[in-house]
């Protein structure tokens, strides 16, 4: 009997505690409104911004609870295709194949990011200048010394040392790598044919660091290294960065301003929201545009991915669908006010207008959802 009590008493105690927690939660939520939960998953790059949006949006609409898991763009696309989330976020648009698998996906650019070139060069105080060709040569292993004539001709004032260049890249699959290799593929035929663009590639030279922090760690601890990191990471951690020559012939530093300019030049070429975006790339659209003054060339969108017809999702009802559309609308308008504080780029007006048309396409059982 004693032993029986020993088992029963804790079970009863746990049951009482659990019930009371649930009861508390149940009673503390207002009964007048039903809580709507929206689930999303995807890219890690926009996660701090999306997280901020979720918190701010909850203040305005307390009955809408948005959850976002930053599991990476690839995972987000997989979950979107499997229809296990209501929206996804990705740093790269869907490829043709992915777009076929997840037909009727809308692309909504939600913010803009860029890749900064960071390096550790003792004795060199000025910012280094790079061109796409030289970057490709460095990362493919054609340029191996800091005092290579190509680097000297770009930086005649810098006291470049006679030291080997240690290349550092991301070891984990990432949107940052996709953006960077996209750029290198555009500027170098050799890169395009031998390495290509992807979230991870077969790197010809260099060391791999895990995450932005891994790359930054190797670069900051080792002289004569060069690597690439997300601009936000470089900025928040005060890493040095170089300027890159754009197609207009200017050497441009990464900044919110130069990213915005790049995005505006790309805006005119964007396809309709429900078409395939597989070829969309800010990099591609400005790499040969000699008019793109002030634009930083290694810039890219982050996208929300959402189905055009929301009733394809299981467990989706009209109320949740409306809530989702309202949330998306809010993120590309009022939500953009939070971007700059977190070092994300607010969307230029052209792209907001483009997105408005896309969001108006979202429907539930054929019924347009957004009512302004």
């Amino acid at each position: 009997m004693r032993t029986a009590y020993k088992i029963i008493i804790p079970i009863v105690a746990i049951a009482i505690i659990v019930t009371s927690v649930f009861a508390y939660q149940y009673l503390s939520t207002p009964q007048t409104q039903q809580t709507i939960t929206l689930n999303g998953a995807g890219a890690t790059f926009p996660f701090p911004l999306i997280d901020k949006w979720i918190a701010e949006y909850h203040k305005i609409k307390s009955n809408v609870q948005v959850n976002y898991q930053s599991i990476g763009s690839g995972g987000g696309i997989r979950q979107h295709t499997a229809k296990t989330v209501q929206f996804a976020a990705s740093d790269a648009p869907l490829t043709e194949q992915q777009f076929t698998n997840a037909s009727n996906t809308l692309h909504i650019p939600m913010t803009i990011g860029g890749v900064a070139i960071t390096y550790n060069l003792p004795g060199v105080s000025q910012k280094l200048k790079f061109t796409g060709e030289v970057l490709a040569d460095i990362f493919i292993g054609n340029v191996t010394k800091w005092n290579d004539s190509k680097l000297i001709s770009l930086n005649p004032d810098a006291n470049l040392p006679n030291q080997g260049i240690i290349v550092v890249h991301r070891s984990d699959g990432s949107g940052t790598t996709f953006v960077f290799t996209n750029y290198l593929s555009d500027v170098s035929q050799q890169w395009k044919l031998t390495v290509g663009k992807s979230t991870s590639v077969n790197w010809p030279v260099g060391l791999g660091g895990k995450g932005n922090e891994g790359v930054a760690g190797i670069v900051s601890q080792n002289p004569y290294t060069i690597g690439y990191v997300e601009f936000i990471y470089a900025k928040n951690n005060n890493l040095p960065w170089g300027s890159v020559r754009n197609s207009a012939g200017e050497f441009i530093e990464p900044s919110l301003d130069s990213f915005t300019k790049a995005a505006s030049f790309a805006a005119v070429t964007l396809p309709r929201g429900d078409q395939s975006w597989s070829t969309v790339s800010i990099i591609d659209s400005i790499v040969n545009n000699t008019q793109a003054t002030g634009a930083y060339p290694i810039t890219s969108f982050s996208y929300f991915l959402v189905y055009k017809e929301l009733n394809v999702l299981p467990n989706m009802d009209i109320t949740s669908a409306k809530a989702l559309v309202d949330f998306l609308w809010w993120t590309i308008h009022d939500g953009q006010n939070y971007s700059a504080d977190l070092a994300y780029v607010p969307l230029p007006q052209e792209i907001r207008t483009h997105n408005e048309a896309t969001i108006l396409m979202i429907a539930f059982n054929g019924e347009q959802l957004y009512q302004s």
Partner: protein, 341 residues
Amino acid sequence: MKTHRVRENAVKSPENPTIFIHNLIVRIRRTMKKFSKGDNLFKLLTAVIASSIFLILGLMIYELTVGSRLSIQRFGIEFLVGTKWDPAITQVFGALPLILGTLVTSAIALLIGVPISLGIGLALSEFSPKRFGFAFSFLVELLAAVPSVIYGLWGIFTLIPFLRNNVYLPLQAMFGFFPLFSGLVYGGGVLTAGIVLAIMIIPTISAISRDAFSAVPNTQREAMISLGATKWETAKTVMSYARTGVIGAIILGLGRAIGETMAVTMVIGNKFQLLPTSLFDAWYTMSAIIANEFTEATYDLYVSALIEVGLTLFFIALIINVLARLIVWRSLKLVRGIARE
């Protein structure tokens, strides 16, 4: 033992009626106990729980095989001997460098970790006062509880700069002509990964080898001392007596080193190449590439190839554990044999 035997003999001889009746009652009680509900239920329950292990293992192999089907069909044996990992252009995946990287870093870890672990084990079982030994083994086992990502961060921010400036660069200055110590020194790489792994497997190996040393009968030590052996000579005998247990400990440590992911990823440099040019060069391991690339593997063949890496790792770990089991069995048999004598 003896009383039991007497009783069994008694059961077989029904000549004595009182003993016969007594035995009958005992028998009936035993049979009743056998069929009592609670016991049966308990037996069933434990059987179900125990067999769930086979279920889990079977499911694991099944899922890994199904998941890697695409890659197995596409590459076959080429996957295990291939030396190219190109997810972007050719979409060809070969895991040989990863397998080598895993085995070599683990071997370095053993090379560094085993002597230290045996020293700890010996000190704890042979030389230290009991109370001190208790506190010390507590500390050593605490090391095993530190999450591997902490080892990784410590590796990046403390160990790498320290090794680079105080060990690797001086080593290169002295022995730079030797290929193993040539090339670029950046602090991370094969040797660093081996050192971090060594630190991580020391708790496992030292704890188990300490137990193996403690299990050596005291008669062995007494015999050695009575022959006039020094402490060191006694310790040598203890070690050779416990060698099978120690081998088991080493192989368990090796198992841990082979499966280790985060700490290695953070210090090894993640460079996909068949062989590194020196001990300071970067390399890659199987678990590291899974951790690195799985989240952003964007097409089915790529995911499938990563799962096949997992399957390969699973089988390598399985082989090592089977080896460990065999060796531990042998050592148990030996100990039993000696005890019988």
